[in-house]
């Protein structure tokens, strides 16, 4: 049998392979020459796309995807009698507040009210063991069994004792609690519920709901003791958290961001929007941001800097408003910090959000809120199957509109592609070296330098080990982030300088760069490729986090590398270190909250920053500190 290898070794001009080879060479050359421009183009497109996200053109009006929901299709029966009942609950609660009642006394009172309504009720005590001592609390809850079905499914209505005002700053949610109690009495009268109704009055802010939801779903954690629940029901599908801190309200705000950036299904939010507008006649806000046409509109910062003609322009105002909504969303989602106690439920596959009655002098109160919640519960009650999976990916720039995934995801992915291409270029660059050739006579006469490209080897193992070491170095960084500020900053400085010191030793690895690629090129290549992968993988899990990473890392990494100029190099390294550790400085009070979230709620933001984000920048610092060999 004759052997036939289908590669041919031929001269460049040989007839068969010539044109194809030429095309390939031309393509290679073109890719190499135009590459820097392509990178800049991708970066510009990516960053511009980020800036365009608030534009009206990228979003569209909301619609209801699940036909079974039928929002606002029922007559509501909540009336002034129920409002009166809520008022009397409120005055009792106020009495408890004024007498400085302990949480046990409060839950006893609440539980007693459920008993009076003949709804099965129970109390759950819990303890959180924090660094500053234990936090005790107790939740009251009641389960109204569905008169029509077996109780395999349930809807949750909750109110926390502390309102979400100022992230649980101590404002009481008395009217929210009163609403839930009064709703329990009201909903008990009807036999149309196809799902069990669970009423939870949780203690504290996040702690109570964390203890309750963990116990309900059989989760334990070492720093929390939560009593097991005596009453349980089936799987919870939807949950409404009612937060009503003022004495009346003009708008209802929705808070929907959950732990680790999880979002509820958009259909639930859309239904609430429709019901609130049509049934209750209350305009809906995203978070508590008023819109520009409202009296409560506060001039957002960027607009007040602009000349007044621009600042008063409708489109500019509109853009600023939508941008502010999105930024607010990013601050919650990127940090993975729940914007209300509903955020603890998404991990259990529950579509939950908080209805926040934005404090105002009027005109709405218990009467409107009760009708809206009643109608929303009827809509939840209609659900026959899980809401569709495609409705979990959205941005809400404005009430009543949303941006779909195809319109926002590419912004982060394009930037990550630019980073990826820079990394690949570094890899190619590492594989070849330019060698001057003793010029021929004609060449010397023309005075042109003749060079040729030679291959060199790319030992990857060392670079991979260095990268792994920087990520391992993130573990001490995590422990440092749990310390109080002064020692924390000191230890941070030590860790960062250890990176600069390490680069002294890494610099010694390079030997003959004619034969072996310099270490900085390999390191840079892997650093960039890894960063790009992290951004694209995160983008489907938590878009805000991916966007923040893309914006922060895009330009700094794409243009990283050693420089010959000492001053530039030092400035660059300083800038990188700053970019790495600004989260930890007291000015950005992010890490304390993030560490708390990780320890008690399981939010992964702080380990992510310590073990992925900072090490990626450290790698860039090492690259920038190495000697610029080519």
């Amino acid at each position: 049998m004759a052997l036939n290898i289908r590669g041919i070794l031929g001269r460049l001009r040989s007839r068969g392979a010539g044109p194809k080879l030429k095309r390939r060479k031309a393509l290679d050359n073109m890719a190499w020459t135009y590459f820097p421009r392509l990178k800049i183009l991708l970066l510009v497109v990516g960053y511009a796309w980020m800036l365009c996200l608030p534009l009206k053109e990228l979003s569209r009006g909301i619609y209801i995807d699940e036909n079974a929901l039928q929002p606002g299709g029922v007559n509501t029966n909540w009336n002034w009698g129920d409002v009166h009942r809520a008022d009397s609950y409120l005055s009792e609660l106020e009495r408890l507040r004024d007498s400085n009642a302990t949480s046990i006394e409060r839950t006893d009172y609440i539980s007693l009210q459920f008993q009076k309504l003949r709804i099965p009720t129970s109390i759950q005590n819990y303890t959180f063991y924090t660094r500053s001592g234990p936090i005790y609390g107790s939740n009251a809850y009641a389960i109204l069994s569905s008169p029509r079905y077996s109780g395999a499914e349930a809807t949750l209505i909750s109110a926390s004792w502390l309102s979400r005002m100022g992230d649980g700053d101590g404002t009481l949610n008395l009217r929210g609690v009163a609403t839930v109690l009064s709703l329990a009495a009201f909903l008990n009268q009807y036999s149309l519920w196809s799902k069990d109704l669970i009423f939870v009055i949780s203690d504290g802010y996040m702690e109570g709901m964390q203890a309750w939801a963990s116990a309900y779903h059989g989760r334990t954690q070492s720093n929390m003791h939560a009593e097991p629940l005596q009453l349980t029901s089936g799987m919870i599908w939807t949950a409404l958290d009612i937060d009503y801190p003022g004495h009346s309200f003009s708008h209802l705000g929705i808070f929907w961001e959950g732990l680790n950036g999880r979002l509820p299904n958009q259909d639930i939010l859309n239904s609430f929007h429709v019901i609130s507008r049509n049934t209750g006649g209350v305009p809906v806000l995203l978070h508590d941001n008023h819109d520009p046409n409202d009296d409560n509109w506060r001039d957002p910062l960027p607009v007040s800097w602009l000349p007044s003609t621009l600042g008063n322009n409708g489109r500019v105002k509109d853009y600023a408003y939508r941008a502010r909504n999105l930024l607010r969303h990013v601050t919650y989602q990127a940090r993975g910090h729940p914007s209300g106690i509903h955020g603890l439920l998404h991990q259990f596959h529950i579509d939950a959000f908080t209805i926040f009655a934005v404090p105002a002098t009027g005109p709405h109160g218990f009467h409107t809120l009760g009708r809206i919640v009643e109608s929303t519960l009827r809509t939840c009650n209609n659900l026959l199957e899980r809401l569709h999976a495609s409705f979990f990916f959205y941005l809400l720039p404005e009430p009543g509109t949303f941006t779909k995934i195809g319109n926002y995801l590419p912004s982060a992915v394009v930037i990550s592609t630019a980073i990826l291409f820079s990394g690949l270029r570094s890899w190619v660059q590492a594989g070849w070296v330019e060698v001057p050739v003793p010029a021929s006579k004609e060449g010397r006469a023309k005075g042109s330098q003749v060079v040729k490209w030679e291959r060199r080897s790319r030992p990857s193992l060392q670079a991979v080990l260095i990268i792994l070491a920087t990520h391992a170095w993130g573990v001490p960084l995590y422990f440092i982030s749990t310390w109080p500020t002064p020692p924390r900053l000191l230890a941070l400085a030590c860790l960062c300088s250890s990176m600069l010191l390490a680069s002294r030793f890494i610099d010694k690895i390079d030997s003959d760069t004619r034969k072996i690629a310099p270490i900085w090129m390999l390191l840079r290549s892997f650093n960039l490729c890894f960063a790009s992968t992290v951004i694209s993988a995160t983008s489907v899990l938590n878009f805000s986090l991916a966007a923040v990473l893309a914006v922060l890392l895009g330009v700094p990494l794409s243009f990283s590398g050693p420089t010959d100029d000492v001053l530039t190099s030092v400035t660059l390294r300083f800038a990188y270190v700053l970019l790495a550790i600004f989260w930890f400085t007291p000015a950005w009070n992010v890490m304390d909250q993030a560490v708390w979230d990780w320890e008690f709620l399981g939010g992964y933001f702080s380990p992510f920053i310590c073990m992925i984000y900072v090490p990626i920048i450290w790698q860039a610092v090492i690259v920038a500190s190495l000697t610029n060999r080519s």
Partner: protein, 404 residues
């Protein structure tokens, strides 16, 4: 460092790792065990078997009767024995890999041995399924053992391991031809200087017959153990008829969840025959280096077989270390590695989005298995290219290699 010492150290580290209290979740992971290799189903089958119920009468147990007999008598599975057994299986596989390397390179002990063992024992695609006690570790062991014995010209052990391999995983039929050629030829690398080989067909026929004899013995034993022929339909035929559409990282399951029933037989045949068409071209092309042909076919199995887990492509990637001579000729190793990096992040992520978090659906996970398929395909194509390209040697000044 002494290889025995290093090997012992690696195995001990691996054993320690398998005793780390891992969440049982690992056993349920779709990426680590398929319905054909799941440890949970094995336990179920053993339970039924011990209680006198035919494990093949339901739709739960799809594994060989040999596993039933071995794990219900000789090696009972429990919390202590399972980690030890699976570590030993991996140790034997790593040993087989090292021995194959020695046979191929023609040297005795070398520094590379420890590296090879580590590449097997600590390849995440291999040790994660092993921590989930997936029986794919056993088929990987048989796979490497048959190649090792063939490389060392131990005809009968090689054929026995091969017969056992085909018995527990029918799609490994792809390996039969290259292993037989390897028994007739030699394991040394001749990628760089290919020449036609002369095959002693008479001897080949004898080897083929011996293989069939081993295979027949195993088949009869299985029939005897399970007391009937029902197991044939519930093990081998399952790989052809795909009754269980539990998601896995392969390319088959999603197609057949979407397919109308009346097209099913046609596409089942197309998918199965598709696997077979690779045997002849690869074995003819790489006849001068049958070990390389076996390696390429391992890659084909890892990419397009019926119920793959991570350990199938994992075996292919570990086997690359047997052929260090091809590494400089790979065209796009970093691209392949990057696609793999993406796939290995996306696969668990999308599986989680779909099945735990509920915010994605099957299409998400399917998309990530496609990325994984592209990554495996890219690696396979590049290895075929490099294996052929190496014969042309270093390019000379002013010359280029093109594919026509």
């Amino acid at each position: 460092m002494d290889i025995n010492f290093a090997f012992g150290g690696l195995v001990a580290a691996r054993l320690l790792l398998s005793f780390v209290p891992l969440p049982d979740q690992l056993k349920y992971d779709h990426l680590l065990s398929s319905p054909l290799t799941s440890n949970l189903r094995l336990h179920e089958g053993i339970y039924l078997f011990k209680n006198g119920v035919d494990p093949y009468s339901g739709g739960v147990f799809y594994q060989s009767p040999l596993y039933l007999s071995i794990f219900s008598t000789l090696l009972p599975l429990n919390r202590v024995s399972s980690p030890i057994i699976w570590t030993l299986i991996d140790a034997v596989s790593a040993y087989a890999l090292v021995q194959t390397w020695r046979a191929r390179s023609g040297v005795g002990k070398s520094n590379r041995d420890a590296l090879l063992a580590a590449v097997y024992l600590f390849n995440p695609y291999l040790f994660l399924p092993s921590l989930a006690f997936s029986t794919s570790s056993i088929s990987n062991m048989l796979h490497l053992l048959s190649i090792m014995f063939a490389a060392r010209r131990k005809t009968s052990p090689a054929l026995f391991c091969l017969a056992a391999l085909v018995h527990v995983s029918l799609s490994s039929t792809l390996l039969v031809l290259p292993v037989i050629i390897l028994l007739l030829g030699q394991p040394k690398s001749s990628l760089a200087n290919p020449k036609p080989i002369s095959i002693d067909f008479e001897k080949g026929r004898m080897i083929g017959l011996e293989f069939l004899a081993h295979f027949a013995v195993l088949t009869l034993t299985s029939t005897f153990i399970s007391g009937g022929f029902q197991w044939l339909w519930q093990t081998w035929f399952v790989e052809l008829s795909l009754p269980d559409l539990t998601p896995n990282p392969g390319l088959w399951w999603y197609f057949f969840t979407e397919m109308f029933d009346h097209f099913r037989p046609f596409f089942l045949v197309a998918f199965s025959v598709h696997l077979l068409i690779y045997i002849a071209p690869v074995c003819i092309k790489f006849q001068y280096d049958p070990l390389y042909a076996a390696f390429i076919l391992t890659g084909v199995l890892g990419t397009v077989k019926a119920y793959p887990t991570l350990s199938d492509p994992g075996l292919f990637f570990t086997m690359i270390s047997l052929f260090p001579e091809i590494l400089p000729y790979l065209r796009y190793p970093i691209v392949t590695s990057l696609i793999h990096l993406h796939a290995s992040l996306l696969l668990p992520l999308f599986n989680h989005l779909w099945l735990s978090q509920g915010t994605g659906n099957a299409n998400f996970f399917y998309a990530s298995t496609l990325v994984f398929g592209v990554a495996n395909g890219a690696a396979l194509m590049d290895c075929v290219w490099a294996g052929l390209r190496i014969a042309l040697g270093e390019t000379k000044e002013g010359y280029e290699v093109v594919q026509q």
